[in-house]
Amino acid sequence: MKKHFLKTLLLTATLIFTSLGVSFAEPKKGGTLIAAVGNNPRHLNPAVQSGIVTGFPGAQLFATPIRYDNNWEPQPYLAESWDISDGGKTVKLNLVKDAVFHDGVPIKSSDVKFSLETIKKHHPFKTMFAPVVSVETPDEHTAVLKLSSPHPALMLAMSSQLMAIIPEHVYGDGQDPKTHPQNSENVVGSGPFKLVEFKSGEHIILERFDDFFIDGRPYLDKMVLKIIRDPATRTIGLENGEIDFYAFENVPTNINRLKKNANLNVTPDGYAAIGPIDWLAFNTKSGKTADVNVRRAIAYAIDRNFILKAIMLGVADEARTGIHPGSPYYEPDVEAYDIDIDKANKILDDAGYKKGSDGMRFGLNVDFGWPGLRPNAEYTKAALKKIGIDVTVRQSADFPTWAQTVSNHNFDLTWDTVFNWGDPVIGVHRTYQTSNIKKGVIWSNTQQYSNPKVDAIMEKAGVENDMDKRKALYSELQKMLANDLPVYWTNTLPYHTIYSNKVGNPPMGIWATSSPMDMTYIKD
């Protein structure tokens, strides 16, 4: 009965869709995808370079052991299967048998070992593979990772752009992998596309790799990634049909504008693992913000709702903690610091910060990490005036200047966008760990926040293999952080993917364009 009902439903649905002229086209081989990239990648080797700009071409050029589906479930990729044993301390990867690099050399377990060791040594995300003690290679198609402790973040760290499998016979030639000439030209990759040309500042051209280890893929013949920095130029390009695809759009006016275009699809899906969060970070060691009362008063005075509605124009989501709302570990039930000017004033009064004759209590500087956050900084100035804090907006000359100022702890407040990178161990712990207070390193614990209890919880959560127990630990962590408030989290950065109607299967997983686009195709 139930089966019959389903069949009827399916038939009706098919009839309706056919009559509406909607067709579920089968993925089709051939075609060129013209995409835009918002910045110039330093080079194309994600094994030694983090960031979404390298990630886009990087994930096409290099395969990883596993990939993720849209529901945070690991799927086979270069590893056709895996076994986790010894309480999570041994991870065995069984590699695809007939996989070859772009130069035709077979991909062996020794390449996996070499890649992991290179990443561990040179990639900025040190926590990713920190517990991996050694990689054993019992045969050509088996790699066994030995860990010092259970490491649940390992699965995500073996996906996306984070564990590019690079050829030992190319990058193992003794040159520094970070400046290896073949990071930018004659790239020998393991992924679905091979490099035709990388012209810095202009374009990256990729071509289908015919001997890719998944039969029949990729569908596209070619991908042209145009490097276009100016948001207005990209927007016009998408409107004109000169560009088919752009990921990581985050200018709210552009998103709303492009949504109105019937030829384009605009979606916020696909960024859950990237996990970008906008936040206001405090210097918790020096100056007025070392006092938690000041931090709380500031949080009460800044209206998250205003940021969501007025600055983000409704395209971003609320983020109450340092874990992205799209993550399974997100805990929304924390102190949210909803706007309350009276309370903020009272906190400051009680803490002994008296208003002067001009209505101001004291002054603070606010910095911002990149131009998109300038409205937030200007808003902070206007908002904190209401509680008697005289804010000076400091404009850094460029990103390195800002990074230097903040990483050397010469700031009071700074707006920033920080990524979760999938697992909290990779992208979240770094912001709050006492051991990660590293002068001169940006996106370390630049707040200089230190709470032994928080450190202990993170240490426990990092090695907890049981999902429910791990969730509980992270829930507690987020509540403690909201109480201490080293950072006031406001919203997700509204990353959107924009693609024209002729693009089928754009990357909608958890890693956006930092994942292989072997299933993307061009419709007729």
């Binding site: 948001p231 006016t253 409205p375 900084a377 808003y379 100035k381 206007a382 000076t392 200047t401």
Partner: protein, 290 residues
């Protein structure tokens, strides 16, 4: 005939005559009136229109005319009219002080080069040429990047990159005037070099320098807007350039947020050019007789 003119010229014309010529010019007077109007708006306007340009007063992106906001609101819901009024003060101040800085450097270098000649001139003029061939915008960006985007550093940066024309004009005037009889007479009567430069020659070389400086004011205002457009502006001070720069990314959807300050700059710079032309006519007897 030509010789006659050259001898007559150094005598300072009666101030009255200059004024008369200036005010006879319809366009110069129009420019002056506009300029005074803008200055009055900038300095007294806030008393009559007290909205703080940094306060968020209404819905963001309300177009001009919405709910009593004559020029609309920007991306944070700040009143653009108030930004234009308060920005006038800063834009004009930056324009005049930057022009003053270039004038100071330019006259200093140009007069010494012109007066002393020889290796002094060689050195100073090579320096001037060096500054002249530098891409000014890039050089100014470097200065602002090094010293931070404050009004002071922006003013100094604009001044530092635009003095070369003043220096060249000053030098050529000095070269001409220092050979004239009255200078020789002055020297004979015991004036030292500094007195000759600043008391005797400079007043007689003033006319073209004043005209050039007036034009520099307009150039400096547009220069500030250019820097702001590239994001190099002081976020704590409202200037027209800053309004343009911070609204730039919304140019496709809220065009008025960029065009309104643009029009303000256009009108001001136009007025300054008209005044500059008027001054040129009034101060330059050769043009006047034509």
């Amino acid at each position: 005939m030509l010789e006659n003119e050259e001898i007559e010229e150094p005598t300072i014309k009666p101030v009255k005559e200059i004024f008369l010529t200036f005010f006879k010019s319809y366009s110069a007077v129009t420019g002056l009136i506009i300029l005074i109007g803008i200055a009055v708006m900038g300095f007294i306007g806030p008393l009559f229109y007290p909205t703080d340009p940094f306060d968020m007063v209404w819905m963001p992106f309300s177009p001009p005319g919405t709910d009593g906001f004559l020029l609309g609101t920007d991306y944070l819901g700040r009143d653009i009219l108030s930004q234009i009024i308060n920005g006038a003060r800063v834009s004009i101040a930056i324009g005049f002080s930057a022009a003053l800085v270039s004038c100071f450097i330019g006259v200093g270098i140009g007069s010494f080069a012109g007066f002393y000649g020889g290796w002094v001139e060689e050195t100073l003029m090579r320096l001037t040429e060096f500054f002249q061939v530098l891409p000014t915008l890039l050089f100014a960006m470097v200065i602002v990047a090094l010293f931070g985007s404050s009004v002071l550093s922006i003013t100094l940066a604009i001044g530092a990159v635009s003095w070369a024309s003043v220096a060249r004009i000053t030098r050529s005037e000095f070269l001409r005037i220092k050979e004239l009889d009255f200078v020789l007479a002055s020297r004979a009567s015991g004036s030292n070099n500094l007195a000759l430069i600043f008391r005797v020659i400079l007043p007689n070389a003033a006319a073209p320098i004043i005209v050039q400086s007036a034009l520099l004011v307009g150039a400096a205002i547009t220069f500030e807007a250019g820097l702001a457009f590239l994001g190099l502006s002081d976020p704590n001070v409202i200037s027209w350039g800053q309004v343009i720069g911070s609204n730039r990314i919304y140019i496709l959807d809220a065009t008025y947020t960029v065009t309104i300050p643009g029009i303000a700059i256009f009108i001001t710079v136009l007025a300054i050019s008209l005044v500059g032309d008027g001054l040129n006519d009034a101060l330059n007897p050769k043009l006047r007789s034509r």
